[in-house]
Every structure is written in C-alpha cells, then in structure tokens.
Symmetry: C2
Subunit: 548 residues, 2 copies
C-alpha cells in the first residue's frame, strides 16, 4: 500500500482555502499513485479552532468541507481530521475525529481518546474523550488510527489512565497512523521522535505521523512529519517549516535506509527559522504585507528587524529611529548602520518635541516633582504613539520588540514599547537574543558589533543601564528559566545556588507584573512555556509577592 | 447537628490572609455552638489559583495551611477546600479536594468528580477526576460531601457521563454538603437555585451550599450561600456581595419557614452591585486606593465614575476632562456637572497642544494626506498618554471606560481609550449602560440627563456620531447578544429577523477585532459570556470575516 503524507499550512476558519489545499494534495497524491493520503488533525478547520468550535455554524461548515473532500476521493482513500458531533445525550457535544474516507464516502470515524488540556491545549474544553476503540481495514491491512496525544501516554509520567494503542493492539493492527497538531518549541522535534519511537518499539509496528506546518498567530507548527519502520528507524521525514507531500510504500519500509538524525539543527537556528515563519504567516494570513518598527540601536529591535526582513522582504519593512534627548550618539549610528546593512529605508523622528509638549501640558500638575518613571514612560509612549500613527496612516503592522526577560520582570512601558500587533521576541530570553544576533552575523556583520557588545539600556534617563534595575541577564535568565519553564519555587531556586535576595526579588517582579503581560501582544511561542495562552495566571494575587 | 456556613472573601495566593480569615470564622462558629463549620472550594488558595497549581511550592503552602487550620479545630469539625496530591502514577498530579477535619486532624478527603472546563473554567487542566466515592459519618449523620460542579450534571443537558450523587446515594446519606466556587453572572443566582433544588427534589435530602464571595480580578463571586430543607424549601440564604457566617441546626430545617424568593433583585441592580464590588476588591487586594479616569461627558465614563465613587469613596477618585478641538461645549459641561454632582475634584487638560505637536512631528511623512483614522487615534492616544502619566506620577490606577458593544466591534483605540488597569463596563452592552445610568439616577439626577439623552459620539472628528460607523445600538446589541452569549451563527441570526447585510457586517467586525480585545485590560465579568478568559478565539483566522 502506498501512503501519501500531506503536510499542509492551514488557516483557521478559512474553509475555502483549506479545502482547496486538501483537494490539490489529493490530486497530487493520486498522480503519485498513492492508495491513501493522510492529512493532519483538525485539518478542515485549522488548529486550534478554539471557541469557534462552540458555534454550530462552524461545525456545519467543517462537515460540509469533509463531505466535499470525500466526494473528491475517487481512486484514493483519505484520512483527515475534523470535529464531529457526539450523538449521545451525555458528554460534551463534539469529538475530535479522524475521518476515514473510501470511495467518496466517510467509511469510519475514529475519535481522539486522550485530550491534552495543559499548557496551550484546551481540548477537553470542547471534546468528549473516545471510549469506543476500533481499527480500519484497507487493502488487506489493518490500520490503527490515532490522533496526536493518543500516542503520548507512554514512558514514566503517565497523564492518563487509559492508553488507546493498548486497546487497538487487541485487533492486531499492521501499522499505526497518527494525525497530529503538535506545536513547535525548540525541543519539540526531539521529544516527538522519542515518544513516537517508544510507541514503535513497544508495539513493533510501522508508524506514519502527519503534522501541521505554519503559524497560527502565536502557535508555530514546524511540520517534520515522520515515517518509522517497525524496527524503530526513521525512514521518512518531511520538510521543516514548509509544506510537503511524500509517498511511502508500506511494503518497502523495512528495506529503506534510516535517515541520519545526528546533525540536529541548533536550538538557535530552530528559533530563528520558527520566528521567520511566524512573522511571515502572521502577515500572510491576515492579508497584510508591511511591517514597521522602532529601531533603537539596541539588540532587540536589531534582531527583530533582521527577522522581519527575512520574513517579509526588505521592501516590506520600515524602520523608524525615535531618538530622545537621552539617546546616545552610538545608538543612532548603530541603528543606521543596521538599516544600511539591510538596505532598508529608515527615518529619524526625534521624540523630544512631543515629549516636551506633554511635559509642558502636565507641568501645572507635576509642578516641581522630580523626574521619575512618569517622565520615562512619557518618552516610551510618545514613541508608541508616533509608530501607531504611521501604522494607521500607511497600513503597516507594528512589530513589538520586547524580549522574554523584559516581559517576565515587567521591564517595559505599557502603551509604549510594549505596543505592537505581534511580539517577535517575547519568548526569547535576552541571553538568547544575543545568541540570535551572533547566529545572524555568522557569515557577515549584519547587526553592528557595537549593538551586540554595548551594555543594554532603555535610554530613558541619563546614563541609564538595564543593570541599574535588573540583575545581570546571565543570572536573571537562569532564574527565570528555572521558574517559568521548570516551575521551581523559591526554596528550590535557592538550593540551586541562587542568592535568596535575588530569587525573591525576581519572583516578586514576575508575579506582580502579570497585569502588564495581560495586555501584551500575542507572542510567537518557541519555548516549552511561553507567556500567553499557555501560561495562565491570576492578576490580583499575592503569591511570591514580597509583602505577602 | 449545628452547621455553620462561612462565606468568605479570599485572596488568591495570600495564604496568611486566607488562613487568618478561616481561623477567625472557626472561633466565631465555636462561639455560636456549631458542631461543624463549612468553607468553600479551594479556600486556602483562593479561587481560581490557575497555573499557581503547577508549582510544588504553592501546593506545599496549601497543605501547610490545611494542617494549621486542622490544628485549630478543637471541639468543632470543619470541611474546607484545597488541592491535594494524587498518589497514583497515572493521571494528573492533583485532586480538587474537600478536607473533612475532626479533632484537629484531616479524617477524610473527598475529591471532586466533575471538573468544569468550559467558559472561564480550566479545572481539567490541573485536576484528576475522582473515581472513588465515599461518604463521611459525623455525630450519627452521614454526609454526602460534593464539590460545586458535582451537583450540576442534572437536568436535560448532561455534560458528564457520571453523576457523583447517584454514587453517593448508595451509602444512604442524611444530607448533602456542596462546597463551591461559582462565579457570578446576572442570571447565576437563579441558575444555581434551580440546579440545587433539582438535586434536593431528586435525592430528597437537605442541602448546605457554601460559595465564595468577592472579586478575583475579572471573576466576581456573589456569595448567596444556601440551605435547602429536604422539601426543597430555601431555609437559609447568606448575604450577597458580602462576607457572612450563619449557623443552622439540621434538626430544625424541616420546620424553618422558607425564605421568600419572589422579590428578586433586578438584573441591572445585580450588575451594579457586582461592578462596585469588583472595583473595590481589585483595588483593595492590590493594596491600592486611588483611581483616575478620563471623563468625556459621555455615558460610559459617567457610569464608570459613579461606580468608582461608590466602590472607593469620592476622596479616592480623580476625574480628568481631556477635551479636543472636536469636543462639544455640552460634553465639557455634562462632565463638569457630573463631577460636581458627585463632589469629585476634576481637572480640564485640553489635548489639542499635544495632538497638534504630534501632527506637526508627522507632517513630513503625512504631508497633505487627508485627515483619517490616524489623526482620530492620535487624539485618543494623547488622552491615554496624559492619563497614564498622571497615573504613574501619583499612583492612581487608570480605569478603562469602554463598554461591551465597543469591545465587540473594535470601536476604540488601542493604547488610547482602551487603556486601563481594569475595564469596568467591558461586559456591559451600551444599551445596558443606559439602563445602569437610569438606575443610578432613580432617586436623584446624578448623571446629567443630557449625558443620557444625547446621541453617543467619540468626538474624534467634526460632528461624529457612533451611528455613522455602527448600526443603532438597539439592533447592534441584540445581534451581539445572540452571537456572543448564545453563539448563533449568521443563518440563525438572519432567521431571527436581522438584516443579512447588518449581520454579516457585525460578525465581520467582531471576528476581525479579536486582536484588539487580546490587549484589553481585564474585564469585570457580569454576563454568561464575557470577553476575556471565558472566550478564547484565534486572532489570525478567517471565519465570518467578509472576504473569506
């Protein structure tokens, strides 16, 4: 049996586009003599459809898509993901379903058993877990069809009490098919291969794994669909960060050479590629082209500009330098050098006249109170105001340039430098931003060396340095990683060797700045634990806030 | 047996404060000769603790609190909610547990079976559902202890396959205790009484129901704990929107007179009281006192100001009038009249010098392009900038004054009038804001009549009216309610009698403005379906967007 894997970049709720892509892949698979073409989980709707699933109208459109796709399956079978209606009175209204299509009709529906409901996942919000196990026979082979998480309850830490493959093994299947929607983080490809291999090793069956590719706002899908033969060798691996369609003959899997897995792409290169795809798809799927950003001469806006240029093309990116009276000469020079290196047009718009005017308006109220955070923020907000005015006038989308370290400790101005339609680096710690800059410069100096080597500064008051207010990023980022990604509490952090005072101060900052992050733009997710939909915290709370 | 119901306003993660309140209630219940005192669900942590539950340190602190509370239970038993650790390898790490305490020790743990995971609820994210049913015996009575949702799987629409009370009935219980965390919306008290009565009617047992009270950022808890006798009569009803502790003798429940339920508080009065509590607790729990807001002369800021004054006291509210060159005379006069009626100090800070300066800065780029949304937004953002500067300088929290209709269709300026620490009216449709204004004015004219009767306007260009850009609010709000609260799709809306063109336009506006709502302040939730944590939508999607 020849099986085609169709790895597609879907668009949530864009039924006509998704359907067209699926139909094109069916035609292509037919031409390649495939007997069966396999699409990803919840393909017809795009993933994650979130609360659209609560609309009957949305479900109807999914079903109509499935019907039309089924009608196109002449001379080829297909497996495709979509929601289906639970016919029982008890339980939630929907299943997360794999539709098995033969001869133009849905012949069988396989529902997802294990519904991930952690981190960015909300599947138990919508779907009833499957309790009825069955396999599908096709061309003399018994297919164990599973959906994403169904294969993940293996290893030491078992999140669920049941294991769908254990149930399906009772029917003596010949191969496993897994249709998935497995969002990227920089360790996900490794995790995924381990989990899938554990299944192959346990059940001694070949495995076809079909993933999504492309960005859905903050969630990035890296593709990398896989085929394992029954000996646990990876014999098929589809493109990363791109659409792909490949055909594999089940009779030949055992004989195929394994694809070498040693030369893994580095973490920083993965993050780089994921962010470029994230920006490109954000704009592409919104039907927009052009980005604007404030270029400060610092490293965050420099890296963001390079990523935007790679995602959208230099003709679609506009850089604005917004110096204040506290901006150093080198900042302007560094920013100009970068724009010139990229051949990107830039404008210099000093904010001082605007900031001075606002200060004058407020003089009767501020009187001779000392310069403080209020005046610092006026500058950041004047920049935000000017950038948004240009955005509104010319239809640019403002890219936010804050990094994860700043977002964590609230080192940023709401309605100022925290503005933007999309946060590019909000899941990249400051120390990783430096690594990205080095990676970008690996062949030639694109980002000026001075931008990389000078001490980070917000330049909102004379001679300000980030290190005036924050611990060194080398320490800060380690504590943040342990707290945010690994959920270590204060005692564990101190046991790890961090100073108690620093630990308490950092955790206090993270927990009392939840209100700022609540209003942050969506953040492209590249780590295991990004701010946003996957990290849900109360705002008015008193946990690990110093005065509690 | 004498049972005390302790209805308390907890603070998420503020263990010392929560524990102190619980210990005080235990002492009080003892003095009132209670045999048993019952606290709400997840009392020790506050509800909802959200992802704090993923921190071992947080769970440890919960357990320490439970231990100390248990030690204080001499001569009185207690039931109190908190998380507990699942000792099994399979399944999620935690249970949502009712601890039954006798003689200073936890004698039994009852775990929650039905874990709500819809709307604002995420309980399956953290907790393993209970599968082990047992009752508790105390003073010769058998107690069926249940937790909130455990009693809600009754009636026509069954969300779950099991029903914990059906299991507990096998043990022949004498009464039902339900510890809850049931957030307010304006129909919730009625829903709750119906669900609880359905249980009493079905199982023919008396029922003690203990709820939270107070606000946790956007979630409001109205209290209203209840006691039903076995005939389905409400014989105890604790305070709404306030802490309360009352003792009931189980021997006397049958004889107690039913509390009349006819004179229900009106929807608008409920919303009013809930919003006042929401503002008060937001400030109180953050340890802050003073609010600032922009007073436009329009109805939204007028109602917000009155609610803030009632929540915080007039000495803690500052109103700023920020007229532009498009502001009408009556706007300023109406705003001044309101401030005077409330005896609240106000300042008039014209934004024209600031807006003009920004326009001048941008002149080289805008050249002679026509005045459009860019210039409109500059004004709204100049207001936001000035308000945030005052907020930063003097420590006020900016209250957001947007209503639900505007939030729905994106009629507001990001980083301008959408600024604020808390959105007071973001879950109140414009037509309901008018009702709130009439309610506020029912005894004397507080909000100037002209503010209520004049046509709504953003006053960002000459003679602008909301009706230039939006359908009449009377129609808009009906379509929005059907779409947002009742999830009707376009076909159903047209069948309901709304014009197709208007329906399509409104749904397009709602769905394409998700990006704005993503960056909105937290919204006090008063309806069944508020924007925020209970409504989770993709941003880059193409569902019901006109060009799809």
């Amino acid at each position: 049996m020849k099986v085609a894997i169709a790895q597609i970049n879907y668009h949530i709720g864009h039924f006509s586009s998704n359907e067209k892509k699926v139909l094109t892949a069916i035609e292509k698979a037919k031409k390649m003599k495939a007997d069966l073409v396999v699409f990803a989980e919840l393909s017809v709707s795009g993933y994650p459809p979130r609360d659209f699933l609560e609309f009957e109208d949305f479900i109807d459109r999914c079903m109509q898509s499935i019907k039309r796709i089924a009608e196109a399956c002449n001379g080829i079978a297909a497996i495709i993901g979509g929601p289906s209606v639970n016919p029982e009175i008890k339980g939630k209204d929907l299943f997360n379903t794999a539709f098995f299509i033969v001869n133009g009709k849905v012949q069988s529906q396989i529902h997802k058993t294990l519904l991930p409901n952690y981190d960015i996942f909300d599947e138990y919000r919508y779907f009833e877990p499957n309790q009825d196990f069955h396999i599908v026979e096709f061309l003399g082979q018994k297919l164990a069809i599973t959906i994403c998480e169904d294969l993940w309850n293996i290893g030491d830490d078992l999140l669920y009490r049941v294991n769908p493959m254990d149930e399906l093994m009772k029917f003596g299947p010949d191969l496993i098919i897994n249709i998935a929607a497995s969002p990227f983080h920089y360790e996900q490809a490794i995790d995924r291969k381990e989990k899938l291999k554990a299944n192959v090793d346990k059940y001694q069956l070949p495995l076809f794994y079909v993933n999504h590719v492309g960005a859905q706002t903050e969630l990035l899908f890296d593709g990398g669909s896989l085929v394992f033969n029954r000996f646990g060798k990876i014999v098929g691996e589809l493109a990363y960060f791109d659409e792909d369609l490949q055909v594999f003959d089940t009779d030949q899997l055992d004989a195929l050479p394994g694809i070498p897995q040693e030369q893994l792409t580095s973490k920083i290169e993965l993050i780089h590629d994921a962010l470029v795809m994230g920006i490109r798809n954000y704009f592409g799927k919104l039907g927009l082209k052009q980005a604007i950003l404030g270029l400060s001469g610092g490293i965050d806006s420099a890296v963001t500009l390079v990523l935007a240029e790679r995602a959208l093309g230099k003709e679609n990116v506009r850089a604005i330098l917004l110096p204040s009276k506290f901006s150093s000469d080198h900042s302007i020079r560094d920013a100009e050098d970068l724009a010139k290196n990229l051949d990107i047009p830039y404008d210099i718009i000093p904010i001082e006249p605007g900031a001075a005017q606002v200060n004058e308006i407020l003089q009767p109220y501020f009187k001779d109170l000392p310069f403080n955070i209020a005046e610092e923020n006026i500058q950041a907000r004047m920049r935000g105001l000017i950038l948004m005015a240009l955005s509104n006038k010319f239809g640019y989308i403002l890219l936010n340039t804050s990094n994860k370290s700043e977002a964590a400790v609230g080192y940023g101005t709401l309605y100022g430098d925290m503005n933007g339609g999309l946060s590019v680096l909000g899941d990249v710690y400051k120390t990783e931003v430096f690594e990205l800059a080095r990676f970008i410069n690996k062949e030639r100096e694109i980002i000026p060396e001075n931008t990389i080597t000078k001490p980070p500064s917000a330049e909102l008051r004379p001679d300000q340095k980030d290190s005036d207010s924050l611990p060194d990023y080398a320490i800060l980022d380690k504590v943040l990683y342990a707290y945010i990604e690994n959920r270590k509490g204060p005692k564990e952090l101190i046991q790890m060797g961090f100073e108690e005072a620093i630990v308490n101060r950092i955790l206090h900052l993270v927990n009392t700045n939840e209100y700022k992050r609540y209003q942050t733009p969506p953040i492209l997710r590249v780590s295991r634990k990004a701010f946003g939909m996957g990290r849900r915290m109360p705002i008015v709370a008193r946990y690990l806030a110093m005065d509690s």
